[in-house]
């Protein structure tokens, strides 16, 4: 990855993802308060509707991107040995990617 010019991009990703997550969580909680689904079927229909599926997927994408930038910052701040930093960044990247795959499986490859 080109190290140059990743400063602003990472910073923007963190800001934009934070705003989206805030709006999504606010919408989610307000929806549960105002129009709480009364049984499982209603909940299921709501959460699997196309719009909600997309919005939830974007939420988890934002969450993972946000976590990546945050953890990358922590490692860049404190881990100064290049090999250790690269190894830890790889580990974090792997963990977050795995979490992403898991999210996709839950949201899009469900049965019933």
């Amino acid at each position: 990855m080109n190290r140059k010019h990743t400063g602003l991009r990472a910073w923007l990703v963190q800001r934009v993802s934070a705003v989206y997550m805030f709006l999504f969580i606010a919408f989610f909680l307000i929806h549960l308060v105002v129009a709480a689904p009364q049984q499982y079927a209603a909940w299921h229909a709501w959460i699997t509707s196309a719009a909600m599926s997309i919005a939830t997927s974007v939420f988890f994408a934002a969450l993972l991107a946000h976590a990546w930038v945050g953890l990358r910052d922590v490692l860049m701040d404190y881990v100064h040995a290049a090999t250790a930093r690269v190894a830890l960044l790889g580990l974090v990247g792997f963990g977050l990617t795995a979490a992403g795959v898991w999210v996709v499986r839950i949201l899009w490859m469900r049965h019933g």
Binding site: R3, K4, H5, T6, G7, L8, A10, W11, L12, D73, M76, D77, Y78, H80
Partner: protein, 246 residues
């Protein structure tokens, strides 16, 4: 009044230590520097510190006073909690007692090219600037490079070699907004790196401790906005009241 002062002479001491001093204040003792100098002259002439103008203009006597960086010459001594703990600027290599090595600080300052870059033919007299354009330099040209901000910035503690630090970034902003400078894009490009500017976590210690009431954190924010091309026309940076050191 009781003082506890950081002492270290690399030629004599194995380790730094805190030395206690006690001195009676005279009516003429107003600022902390007055008292430190009297301690040095009357009790221990090996006590070493930098000072020059004695009025907050030169920035030589920046030290850590009861945990906060400030200029000894403009810090009212009677407001300080006892014992007054004086240490050299945090994270800077100590040369002796309260004197620190500023080399790295100046290296970061030089790295932002703190001078006008303009290859256009020089006019007969001078490069003119409208009063409005001149106003944009307010709040950044006043920096005296005392290093209070950079020395109190955690991001500078962790990456002093790669992060420019608040003082350098405030100066970078001063040249980025100068209407006579022609290297704005290169300057922004140079700072758009994960380390040089973006180690800033907006902790804002820099702004809090600046003895001139400047806001490096605001300058850093404006540089980020300029990089993002969200650039609305602003005037200079506002000065703020300097919170008193207790």
């Amino acid at each position: 009044m009781r003082f506890s002062i950081f002492r270290y002479d690399p030629e004599r001491d194995e380790k730094p230590y805190m030395q206690a001093f006690e001195i009676e204040l005279k009516p003429t003792d107003r600022m902390l520097l007055d008292v430190i100098l009297r301690i040095r002259d009357s009790q221990d002439d090996s006590l070493t510190l930098r000072k020059s103008c004695r009025e907050g203009v030169c920035g030589s006597d920046a030290i850590n006073i009861n945990g906060r960086n400030g200029l000894a010459c403009v810090t009212p001594v009677r407001e300080l909690k006892e014992p007054v703990e004086l240490r050299p600027l945090p994270s800077f290599p100590v040369i002796r007692d309260l004197v620190v090595d500023m080399t790295r600080f100046y290296q970061q300052y030089h790295s932002i090219r703190p001078y006008l870059i303009n290859d256009e033919a020089a006019p007969e007299k001078e490069r003119l600037q409208s009063p409005e354009d001149r106003d944009k330099l307010d709040g950044s040209y006043e920096c005296i490079l005392c290093a209070c901000c950079t020395s109190q910035c955690p991001s500078s503690w962790w990456n002093p070699d790669k992060f420019v630090g608040p003082a350098g970034l405030l100066q970078a902003y001063r040249f980025i907004v100068d209407s006579r400078d022609r290297a704005t894009d290169e300057r922004l490009d140079d700072l758009n790196d994960p380390y040089r500017l973006f180690r800033c976590r907006t902790i804002m210690n820099c702004t809090e401790v600046c003895p001139k009431g400047l806001s490096p954190s605001r300058a850093i924010e404006r540089i980020r906005l300029k990089m993002s091309k969200v650039d609305h026309d602003e005037g200079g940076l506002a000065l703020h009241r300097v919170p008193p050191i207790r």
